[in-house]
Amino acid sequence: MKLTSQRATLAILASTALVWAGAAHADYPERPVTIIVPFSAGGNTDNIARIAADHLSEALGQSFVIENRGGGGGSIGAAMVAGAEADGYTLLFGTTGTHNVNPNLRDVDYDPIADFTPISAAVVSSVLIVAHPSVEATSLEELMALTSSDAGAAMNYSSGGVGTVAHVAGELYNEMTGSQLLHIPYSGAGEALNDLVAGRVQLNMNNVPAFLPHIASGAVVPLAIAADERSMLLPDVPTTAEAGLDNFVMGSWFGLLAPAGVPQEVIDTLHSGMASLADNETVVERYSAIGVEATPSASPAAFAQYISAQYDWWGETLDNPAFQE
């Protein structure tokens, strides 16, 4: 803590000494920027955000400080930023959960589209279909044949709760393949792992990071990745389309957003910082260690477009009675 604040003070001194007063926002960022992570420290979102924040601090010469404001499945932190001053010093590290799932599933205190100015995605993580080694399928094709047969009705898939990516992926899989896998919810993705590794739950469809150690050890077998292209982290795992399941593409994004009304110059400055994520070797290395790839958006507008397209996709998908109370 002390170190950061010292560094921050130094940075403030340096920036005020060096930069002469120009246009109102040309100096941005002239003091430390707070990035609200709407989940608790140490989780997946937090890890991704901290690496991005370190990179931004370096790229823009100003401290980017993470503040964890968990609760309400991310809704509390997101609502805070939605109502924050639009000066570019309070930002949100948003996710599919805060901007696409929660607003479609329940009442939240913010408008995911109108209340925010998207800056750039940091990571888009695709859903990976994994099975316990006891499942008699070595490919997605065999799995689909197995799950849509009578034997499939005795199989389970797990998730970290109703409306999570893993739950939606599972129900979507059921619908598209005519299977009847039973959903077993847990109170978090981590908790769901024990029964998966033990084989009481046979399948799980979730973002790569949670599985990475267990794929390496052979405790779970990756069958397909629900993306348009293969992942660099798992080059041998085919995409769903390659493996014979079309239109099953989904994942979650993690990215930086500002409150609505932040000046365009500020947004552009921040985007320039995010855009170099994928070119920075340290970032690439740290991201691949936690099982994700840096995938910054081409422009703030492209990210905005992506978010609202995802919003519509999730709205339609969540209309399924399986996700309603």
């Binding site: 890890n47 964890n68 990475l212 390496a216």
Partner: protein, 506 residues
């Protein structure tokens, strides 16, 4: 042996030794401060460790984790404020001991118990890691359901003299624990439109309010006969009788800790609870529990310290976090490019054995650190209440706030303080409420998960030998006292026609 030497040579590197010392020191301090648990502390210093060597970083984080468990008992004993959730049970007999002027003794005993419990946990971690991993995986919803049910049966006697009141309190605790989202169908339970309540109530504000704050409110109305606490070394040493009484509880407690530590989801809190319930049950004077029994603090403290050590087994060897704190630990490893799992011991022997060796060193450091501190803590009690209590209220407010940087949790803590005060003044014991609050969600979650996995057939819960055995033991515990009292009472019943309702209160 080679492994241990490799471990020691890693752990004794100056950087790692320093990290270990810094970790346990910080952990003890954090543990002493009510409400700020290991999780908050670890989350706070996690970013600092990113720049360190992975082994050094994880040694430090681990030191904070088990150090907090050491320090956590201090506030429980001195102020009736659980330093960490798993120390809540230590309040029950620790605080009465302090009120009797035996705070120093209580702190000495918990330090020794923590050390022995922790050491046994480390031995188990060192020798039995592969074996215990399998035990962890063998536990699914059926086994957990049976285990939690057994816990419920075992702790049912804890609390005040009035059984009906205790029962009401268990139910009230269970009811409070249902607040939040129902993970099975997404329904909101008792959230009253507060987004802050969606994730449920966390144990810290509830326990701090119920135990600590209500104690402070109560004290305002009482005119205290202050016990003057002596701060001599002599007054801190347990008597020969204390030593004799604490040996077995410590060993049994360590056993509970080693068993519950590696099981995901249960961990130190349930270990401490089981240890306390067992000591009370097998004691020849169970009615004395809650009045300052040595067994009531030695067992739980040994068990929660053993549990925090053995909790590393599934974390390191399976990559499965048993508690949210362990999830952060895995995150810390992964961010350094180290993948926890069965391969870890082979691929990173220096890290694994270095960490294990640092546990030995850390435990020793904690013992050396804590014994001299006892005098300091005890002399805190000689500060006049009018100065001490306001500072404590400030501290617990900070603790409650630190959970998720939210004022809401502070308000919640105050609310539970008020509730605790009202319940106390009506003669309700608060311990059963805490037990209901901790165990009920686990019971519900595993019952419903088991019913799902069994496709609605309750036979599922008897289908595994482990679950069936545990359920049989639970049934035996319920039935045995009934038969026992019938057998004992028969000769007397002939002479007296009195209804023996109150006799089984013990």
């Amino acid at each position: 042996m080679d492994n241990l030497i490799l471990g020691l040579s890693t752990a004794l590197l100056p950087a790692n030794l320093l990290a270990c010392f810094a970790g346990v020191l910080l952990g003890t301090a954090i543990g002493v401060i009510p409400g700020i648990g290991a999780m908050a502390a670890i989350a706070l210093i996690l970013p600092l460790t990113f720049s360190l060597d992975p082994t050094t970083g994880i040694v430090m984080l681990a030191g904070v984790y088990y150090g907090a468990e050491y320090g956590g008992s201090t506030a429980s004993i001195l102020l009736n404020l659980p330093g960490t959730p798993s120390n809540a049970i230590t309040c029950l007999d620790g605080y009465p001991m302090a009120q009797q002027g035996r705070a120093g003794v209580a702190l000495f005993i918990t330090t020794v118990a923590s050390f022995i419990g922790g050491s046994i946990g480390i031995v188990v971690l060192t020798l039995l890691t592969p074996l215990i991993v399998d035990v962890g995986l063998a536990f699914g919803p059926a086994e957990y359901f049976a285990l939690i049910l057994l816990c419920f049966v075992a702790v049912s006697g804890v609390g005040g003299a009035d059984r009906r009141k205790n029962f009401v309190m268990i139910l009230l605790g269970g009811l409070v624990s249902t607040v939040g989202i129902d993970i099975y169908d997404g329904t909101y339970r008792y959230t009253f439109g507060f987004h802050e309540l969606i994730d449920g109530l966390s144990l810290v504000p509830v326990a701090m309010g119920l135990f600590g704050l209500s104690e402070i409110i109560c004290s305002v109305r009482q005119s205290h006969e202050r016990v003057k606490h002596k701060v001599t070394m002599r007054s801190m040493l347990p008597t020969r009788d204390d030593w004799r009484r604490m040996v077995w509880p410590i060993l049994r407690g360590a056993g509970f800790g080693c068993f519950f530590g590696p099981l995901p989801g249960t961990g130190p809190s349930v270990a401490a609870l089981s240890s306390y319930a067992t000591e009370r049950r097998i004691s020849d004077r169970p009615e004395d529990f809650g009045t300052g029994r040595v067994e009531g603090i030695a067992g739980p403290e040994a068990s929660n310290n053993a549990a925090v050590q053995t909790a590393f087994i599934p974390t390191l060897s399976l990559g499965i976090p048993g508690t949210p704190t362990m999830a952060i630990m895995i995150g810390a490893l992964m961010i350094h490019g180290i993948v926890p799992g069965p391969m870890l011991i082979q691929s990173e022997p220096e890290l694994f054995w270095g960490l294990v060796a640092s546990f030995w060193i850390g435990n020793l450091l904690l013992l050396i650190l804590n014994i001299p501190l006892i005098g300091v803590w005890v002399s805190l009690l000689n500060i006049p209440y009018r100065l001490l209590y306001p500072s404590i209220v400030v501290l617990i407010c900070i603790g409650a706030y630190s959970i998720s940087n939210a004022v809401f949790d502070v308000a919640l803590m105050l609310l539970f303080g008020l509730l605790g005060y009202l319940l106390r003044s009506r003669g309700f014991a608060l311990a059963p409420m805490l037990i209901g609050f901790v165990l009920m969600p686990m019971l519900e979650e595993n019952l419903r998960r088991g019913m799902l996995m069994g496709r609605g057939d309750p036979v599922y819960f008897f289908s595994s030998p482990i679950a069936a055995t545990i359920l049989a033991i639970a049934a035996l515990l319920v039935v045995a006292p009934i038969f026992g009292s019938v057998l004992r009472r028969r000769p007397r019943d002939e002479g007296s026609a009195k209804l023996p309702f109150n006799e089984d209160d013990a």
